[in-house]
Symmetry: C2
Subunit: 356 residues, 2 copies
């Protein structure tokens, strides 16, 4: 169905009509000039926002729209958890070009809603408009936390343990894999064209990723670590600093150390890696540690806890201590497998610097 058949309000109604409100804090969702929220006393409100642009943040040649919806929501949900909060509401704005059909947006919303259901978050509004060029997605997520339990980036203290959830570098390896297969496919299309044949006769882009499923899933369907935030609360651990790893471990560690006025020391042999990440790095002739440090898009949690909580934090499944916070004059150090120390540099993904 053409989007123009529905128009703006018709489309919004079509996509949002059966959304159920899950949070008592949501007093009014889609349908007025504003959404209306009401939070109980003693809780602070958390707000985060992301703008995702086609060709910069995602490639529709290999990202299905349902996955894109899921991921767009998850990257924002992740920021709320990174403050030790709980997501409550989300606004979703889309600018779509002519080539999109209503069914495409239904797919996008299906992914979005799946992510929101997993995190008990209400879709309360947004904006749907047209774009002269690519797809643009802007999501704002709102959450809350008890006032004393909000965790910032600036609270790390010397001797605090540096902890990471899950494993690192897999999402980046998934991206490399997709880019490689896309290049192969585009080369096939080019050859078919050169022979004067119609490239539409080629089977659609559907490479075999068997044995690499984990890497693809990490790239296409990242999960915000709600479970870790809940496990920390259950273990009565309040991190001194926390953030989510979206631009790469090095870059995020640098933010925590800069804002906390500390240094840090992490150990190469403690960096959590999945087997598939290591195999893929080898295949691509890349250094797996570099991938883990700078890969980005893992959406794992990076946090610091007082040394005294060592045993308690180690008891949480899927959390690993990778080093500790130091005095600022010691800088940011990586202790390599061979004992050599190297200064950490943030070489993570930077959408503005990477523009050549």
């Amino acid at each position: 169905m053409e989007i123009a058949e529905l128009g703006e309000f018709g489309l919004i109604h079509h996509l949002t009509k059966d959304i159920e409100i899950k949070n008592a804090e949501t007093r009014k969702g889609v349908g007025d000039d504003c959404a209306v929220l009401e939070y109980p006393t003693g809780r602070q409100v958390l707000v985060t926002t992301d703008l995702l642009m086609e060709g910069v943040h995602f490639d529709l040649q290999y990202v299905p729209l349902k996955h894109l919806g899921y991921k767009s929501a998850m990257v924002n949900l992740s920021d709320i958890y990174a403050m030790n909060g709980r997501p409550r509401q989300m606004t979703v704005s889309l600018a779509v070009s002519k080539r999109f059909k209503v069914e495409d947006l239904e797919d996008f919303y299906a992914g979005l809603r799946l992510a929101c259901e997993a995190c008990q978050c209400d879709i309360v509004g947004g904006d749907t408009t047209s774009s002269m060029t690519g797809l643009a997605i802007s999501i704002t997520c709102i959450g809350d936390a008890e006032t004393e339990k909000v965790v910032y980036r600036n609270g790390a203290q010397p001797n605090d343990l540096i902890c990471v959830s899950g494993d690192l570098g897999a999402a980046y390896m998934g991206l490399q894999l997709l880019e490689r297969e896309k290049a192969v496919y585009n080369e096939q299309v080019r050859e078919v064209r050169q022979r004067g044949e119609n490239p539409d006769t080629l089977p659609p882009f559907q490479p075999d990723f068997s044995g690499r499923e984990y890497l693809l899933e990490r790239q296409l369907k990242p999960e915000a670590r709600r479970d870790i935030v809940e496990a920390l609360a259950k273990a009565d651990i309040l991190p001194t600093a926390m953030m989510d790893i979206s631009d790469g471990l090095s870059s995020e560690l640098m933010h925590i150390c800069t804002q906390s006025h500390t240094g840090c020391r992490i150990y190469e042999d403690r960096l959590p890696l999945d087997y598939q990440t290591a195999v893929m790095a080898e295949e691509l002739n890349m250094n797996v540690t570099t991938c883990a440090l700078n890969g980005g898009e893992d959406y794992e949690l990076l946090f610091t806890v007082p040394l005294i909580l060592h045993d308690r934090v180690c008891a949480i499944p899927d959390v690993k201590v990778i080093g500790h916070i130091t005095k600022p004059e010691l800088g940011l150090q990586l202790v390599c497998r061979d004992g050599v120390e190297m200064e950490l540099k943030a070489q993570g993904w930077n959408p503005l610097k990477s523009r050549k």
Copy 2:
């Protein structure tokens, strides 16, 4: 200065470093995973968001970036006032293409900050990224209101008076004027090219708009009606329904009547018009009433009040009663100057339907 020289975090720091927080409700602004807000008991939180795309919502050939920043903020601030709220915080996301310099974004932010200062709103975060094509702007505005004082679209009752602030149609006339002058200029460029000359030798696009300043100002520098919301509070008037006029009076009236399950009756001779709007409509051979009904982008307030408040609402400067709410079965009627009744149709701006 090239944006790539600063990078994402450098740019955000550069643009936001001297922003002062004005509201006690803002506990943490730019610089963490989320902004942190805290609202006192008894107040509800209002959230609105807009996504503005180059080539759809604005044309950089005639919109200066400072004006664009100002307007982008104002259209969101206007939505908070439309709920009878006060704006408190704003997040600003930008996706910029290579042709933008740091100075361009400084201009955009200068306009943005001017608007926020006028409405006592804090810029608390956002996202700055790159775009493969045009400029994309996503703004989310957060405000608050006493729980009992939030005004929705659905509270209008038969016999309520329908009121409008300011005047209508001028922003649309300003757009027509700019589009006309742009077409003239582009024709000049085409002719110069045809003669084999360099179009850069032409003076830049700077047509003479004297006598039309009001129309241009309405298009390029709209003002959210904070003053009206404050005047209503001072006069102890709580509207039964309210919204801002962004897509045209007809369209907005239809929203209020649909959501309130009512009809309405408005009078052509009571529609507030500026002299310049009427002159320009005449010049362009357009019906000025059609412009006032469907023009859009006026960002005036449309609201309803109980009949008993007639004298009190008429005493507020710059507010005009244009008709009244009726029973739903009477439909939406416009009473023309000659006494003929016509059914109101929403023909306002629809970014999705207009895509041919």
